[in-house]
């Protein structure tokens, strides 16, 4: 990662739903090409925070920029520079693989020629050439994930947001998926990923742990293990998040 | 047995949690019966009649004042030229035009005969027929008066005695409100049931429940129970409104009516269940009930258009719609005040439908999953 360029800058972000404070004054920065892990128990506020960064939700107070644009005023501009993969994978299940690629490619402004070449490139990289005409609903879970990720990357965004991208998948497929993430990061894309698989936390450059809406820790996995005298991230997590009051 | 009650309790919790939907389902029928009960009517009020004729003529003036005095008609505009009247008809501003021929007075008194032409907007044949009928009635009264003037009272007015049975005031609501009751009860009940069950199917919680040691038959019945209760609440509110607000009488036995309604609700539940079995998504269930059930029921079951006026083929088709039988029962009990004997046939048919629908949908339910 390039420590000089910040792609995400967040300061004192708060999000309330009525009386419930989902995100309670968080501040952090993320650097270009960094793999930033956003950890926390269910209900800690991770997804809410991520949705604000993506421009899907408006913060109650606080400010920040994503890819150089304000999260308060320029949500639409942000969307041009980011990619997103939601927990539900959000591809159109009644469309074929190549049709999904075409749709999202076109939405992000790729022209027909670019779409065609991108499609070929992507299918080759994912070894899915034979699945070109398969309906997404007929694909196994691991394939859907990889496809969703590739589509999120298709328009070369600066930052890609991944919300629990590997839930429900076997360890081998998860490892493969992370290969894709590494590749993207080495190409200079900032990867912002939420997860509650603690072994994945080890793969990140830096990790933040949210508890009850606040960031309780923010550092590289190595530093955190040292600080909390833990052998692995699992232990770090239990020590920090064990104090959590909120859990879904 | 204990488990079944547990299931039933759980179903009620589901409903009480989704307060908005429950509210919608309880309030909708009330609003609908109020709106439709009053709005669906074929009575003609103040139909606009234009005149083309010489208004200095006393006969013309008499007819005009009779029309004004008639509660169903009212005078529109008076024209010199027929073409103006035609334009009014085309724009829909007048329902009929009354043409008195030229030199009407002279022709009437000297020649003994003068032509009056009633030209009505035939687009809606029903209204046209009624309006023409009223205008003819007015002309006949005027005719009568003039003739009596001439030859003195006597046997000129020859009418048999007329008794209007069951609905002497000829309130349109007597005819339509039972229909609306049936429509609302059936559609809301089956929609509610179908969509909720399909929702559980989609979410996967249905499978969970079916894996339990309780027999599927009881599970299904427990599923239907809350909708039964809601439908009963709807029935009561609709009946109360129909009687107290819309003035539809309850001349027969309420117990009998409620029994019939219970059976009808049962058949609607069966329909809803059947729809939920064949639908894969909530969308499909909604479409099947909202469009697939609504349209035929509205058009064919005698709610608005009388079954007797339909061609035989459609009458046979309407026989398979439960709502048709229910509405007949409701009208007979409420308005005609008859007893169980008079509706025995319809009640039997309705009961058979209920058993059939429930039976077939429960069977399909078990096999589909």
């Amino acid at each position: 990662m390039e420590k000089n360029i910040k792609t995400v800058e967040i300061s004192h972000l708060v999000k309330k739903f009525g009386h419930f404070t989902a995100v309670d004054d968080i501040s952090f920065d993320v650097y270009k090409g960094e793999i930033f892990g956003f950890l926390g128990a269910n209900g800690a506020g991770k997804t809410t925070a991520m949705r604000i960064l993506c421009g899907l939700s408006r913060p109650t107070s606080g400010q920040g920029t994503v890819a150089g644009h304000s999260i308060l005023k320029d949500q639409e501009k942000i969307k041009r520079h980011i990619g997103y993969m939601s927990q539900k994978f959000s591809l159109y299940t009644d469309l074929k693989v190549w049709e999904n690629i075409e749709l999202f490619g076109g939405i992000y402004g790729l022209n027909d020629k670019q779409i065609v070449s991108k499609t070929d490139e992507m299918l080759k990289a994912l070894s899915m050439e034979n699945a070109r005409n398969m309906f997404v609903r007929d694909m196994p879970l691991g394939w859907k994930q990889k496809l969703a990720f590739s589509i999120a990357m298709a328009h070369n965004p600066e930052i890609v947001f991944l919300d629990e991208p590997t839930s429900g998948v076997d360890p081998v497929t998860r490892r493969n998926f992370w290969e894709l993430i590494y590749k993207a990061a080495s190409d200079g894309v900032t990867v912002f990923v939420t997860t509650h698989y603690m072994d994945e936390a080890e793969y990140c450059d830096r990790v933040s742990i949210m508890v009850d809406g606040r960031i309780e820790a923010l550092a590289s996995p190595a530093l955190l293990k040292e600080r909390y005298e833990a052998r692995n991230m699992d232990e770090v997590f239990s020590k920090i998040a064990g104090r959590a009051k909120r859990e879904l | 047995m204990k488990e079944i009650f547990a299931f039933i309790r759980k179903e009620f919790w589901h409903i009480s949690r989704d307060r908005r939907t429950t509210l919608i389902v309880l309030v909708m029928p009330v609003v609908q019966i109020l709106l439709f009960g009053f709005a669906i009517s074929t009575e003609v009020h103040n139909a606009v009649v234009d005149i083309v004729g010489d208004t200095t003529d006393p006969i013309v003036r008499n007819v005009m004042s009779r029309i004004e005095g008639n509660k169903y008609l009212s005078i529109g505009e008076i024209h010199d030229m027929p073409s103006q009247a035609e334009a009014r008809l085309r724009k829909g501003r007048a329902k009929a035009v009354l043409f008195f021929e030229r030199d009407f007075d002279k022709k009437f008194n000297s020649d003994g005969k003068a032509v009056v032409r009633i030209v009505s907007d035939g687009a809606d044949p029903n209204t046209a027929q009624i309006v023409t009928g009223y205008i003819q009635g007015v002309l006949q009264s005027e005719q009568l008066a003039l003739t009596e003037e001439m030859i003195g009272q006597g046997r000129v007015s020859m009418r048999p005695n007329l008794q209007l049975m069951y609905n002497p005031a000829m309130n349109s609501s007597y005819n339509f409100v039972p229909g609306v009751m049936g429509l609302i009860l059936m559609l809301i009940c089956s929609m509610m049931t179908a969509v909720s069950i399909v929702r559980e199917k989609e979410m996967g919680t249905l499978e969970l429940v079916l894996v339990s040691p309780v027999k599927p038959f009881w599970i299904i019945l427990s599923k239907l129970t809350p909708y039964l209760v809601l439908s009963i609440i709807n029935y009561v509110s609709v009946l109360l409104l129909a009687h107290y607000v819309m003035g539809v009488p309850i001349n027969g036995s309420i117990t009998l009516l409620s029994l019939a309604s219970l059976i009808f609700v049962g058949s609607s539940l069966g329909l809803g269940l059947l729809v939920s079995v064949i639908s894969k998504t909530q969308q499909t269930a909604m479409l099947l009930c909202g469009m697939g059930l609504t349209m035929p029921t509205m058009m064919l079951s005698g709610i608005i258009f009388p079954c007797e006026s339909m061609p035989v083929a459609l009458q046979i088709l309407s026989d398979i719609i439960p709502a048709k039988w229910y509405i007949i029962i409701v009208k007979r009990i409420m308005i005609q005040g008859v007893g169980a004997q008079a509706i025995a046939k319809e009640l039997a048919v309705l009961s058979c439908m209920m058993f059939f629908l429930l039976g077939i949908s429960i069977k399909k339910f078990k096999t589909r999953l």
């Binding site: 421009g55 899907l56 939700s57 639409e76 959000s90 009644d94 049709e99 075409e102 749709l103 490619g105 076109g106 992000y108 | 989704d18 908005r20 939907t21 609908q32 439709f36 709005a39 669906i40 074929t42 009020h45 139909a47 003994g112 009056v116 032409r117 030209v119 035939g122 687009a123 809606d124 044949p125 029903n126 046209a128 009928g133 003819q136 005719q143 003739t147 006597g154 009418r159 048999p160 007329l162 209007l164 049975m165 000829m170 005819n175 339509f176 909720s196 929702r199 909530q282 969308q283 909202g290 469009m291 349209m295 608005i304 258009f305 009388p306 006026s309 339909m310 459609l314 007949i328 007979r332």
Partner: protein, 373 residues
């Protein structure tokens, strides 16, 4: 961007298991089945007779009524009570009671003011059917009596002036209910297609989560919404013209007015209905609620639009409500164009109202649709 979104919408539309089939079937049902049902004509009035006079004259009267074509004569009842039971059971619509003394009445002197020994009872649960039945019976009896005594006293009746009444019915000389209902049924079909379906579509995208994926892209919400509507607009036009074609092929009905007017009105109506559906789904917490609310409004719109029963027959407060009902304007205009050949010169108030409603609902729908919550 439009190109790709449109491609997606059309593909999804045709791949839906039920949709294309429904679109094909609907026009057929609307033209081939429903018009035959939609009929308020009073026919086949079942007549029960009680004959206490048992004379030639009474038999003649019964014969006259039976052959008039209005009635279906049931068997002659043995007593008034039995006839009444028949009516209670719903097997008779009217009862003609000829009391003893009928034949004598016809032969007796003209100047007596005795009442006629004939009674008519009609079932007025359906007021129209009852009153028309009464009218027919009345006419039959009165004209029978008049012709029976006509020879004797008729001369004195002549001499007074007589109205010669001609009646005719414009636009629909055969009093054919079908041609009146078909334009209105088309309106209903379009309403269901364009009101129900796009809203259901958006709500299910919401529930599936794909809408979030779109919200995160630079696609403008207006673009997304319009692209979603376009297949349904296309479907609506397809249905209108298929129905018109079928109506011509099957019944020979031709549209008296201009097709362009129909196109314009259809568009205005689609605008209102589709944006209304979107509006409802924007405010609903889940698909179930959205669907119920939309169904509720569809029912209200349909039944209070003048399609089945006239707006003029409604109480004043209900008529006021219909001013906000797009179907009222559309159905009225469709009927005027199809049956009367009215042009925009006559129908412009309807168009203006539709467009007015449309601009309100569209603006509100777009404003209330948030890509960012």
């Amino acid at each position: 961007m439009w190109k790709y979104l449109l491609k997606k919408e059309f593909k999804q539309f045709f791949r839906d298991p039920g949709m294309p089939r429904m679109v094909m079937v609907f026009p057929l049902i609307i033209i081939l089945v429903f018009p035959f049902a939609a009929n308020m004509e009073v026919r086949n009035i079942r007549l029960a007779v009680v004959d206490n006079d048992c004379s030639d004259q009474s038999a003649l009267l019964i014969e006259k009524c039976a052959s008039s074509g209005y009635f279906k004569l049931l068997s002659i009842a043995k007593s008034p009570a039995e006839a009444q039971k028949t009516m209670d059971r719903g097997d008779a619509d009217a009862i003609l009671t000829i009391n003893s003394g009928f034949a004598r009445y016809l032969e007796s002197s003209l100047r007596t003011g005795d009442p006629i020994p004939v009674g008519i009872k009609v079932n007025t649960v359906n007021g129209t059917r009852g009153s028309i039945g009464a009218q027919y019976l009345n006419t039959c009896v009165s004209s029978f009596i008049a012709s029976a005594i006509g020879g004797i006293g008729g001369a004195s009746v002549a001499g007074a002036g007589q109205f010669e009444i001609h009646d005719s019915f414009r636009y629909n000389p055969n009093m054919d209910y079908k041609v009146f209902m078909i334009p209105a049924l088309i309106v209903i079909a379009i309403t269901m297609m364009c009101g129900f379906l796009p809203a259901l579509n958006i709500v299910s995208e919401k529930e599936r989560g794909t809408i979030e994926q779109i919200n995160v892209t630079p696609v403008r919400k207006t673009t997304f919404i319009i692209c979603k509507m376009i297949p349904y607009v296309a479907v609506a036009y397809y249905m209108v013209f298929t129905c018109l074609l079928l109506a011509w092929l099957v019944f020979g009905y031709k549209c008296q007015g201009s097709y362009l007017d129909i196109v314009i009105f259809t568009f205005a109506h689609i605008l209102v209905m589709a944006s209304f559906g979107l509006l409802v789904s924007n405010y609903s917490e889940n698909a179930q609620q959205a669907m119920f609310v939309i169904w509720f409004f569809s029912m209200v719109f349909m039944l209070m639009s003048g399609i089945f029963t006239p707006v003029e027959s409604m109480p004043k407060w209900a008529q006021v409500i219909t001013y906000a009902n797009p179907l009222r304007y559309f159905a009225e205009a469709m009927r005027a164009i199809f049956l009367k050949g009215s042009s925009l010169v006559d129908t412009w108030p309807n168009l203006l109202s539709l467009l007015g409603l449309g601009s309100i609902t569209t603006t509100w729908a777009i404003l209330s649709y948030h890509k960012t919550a």
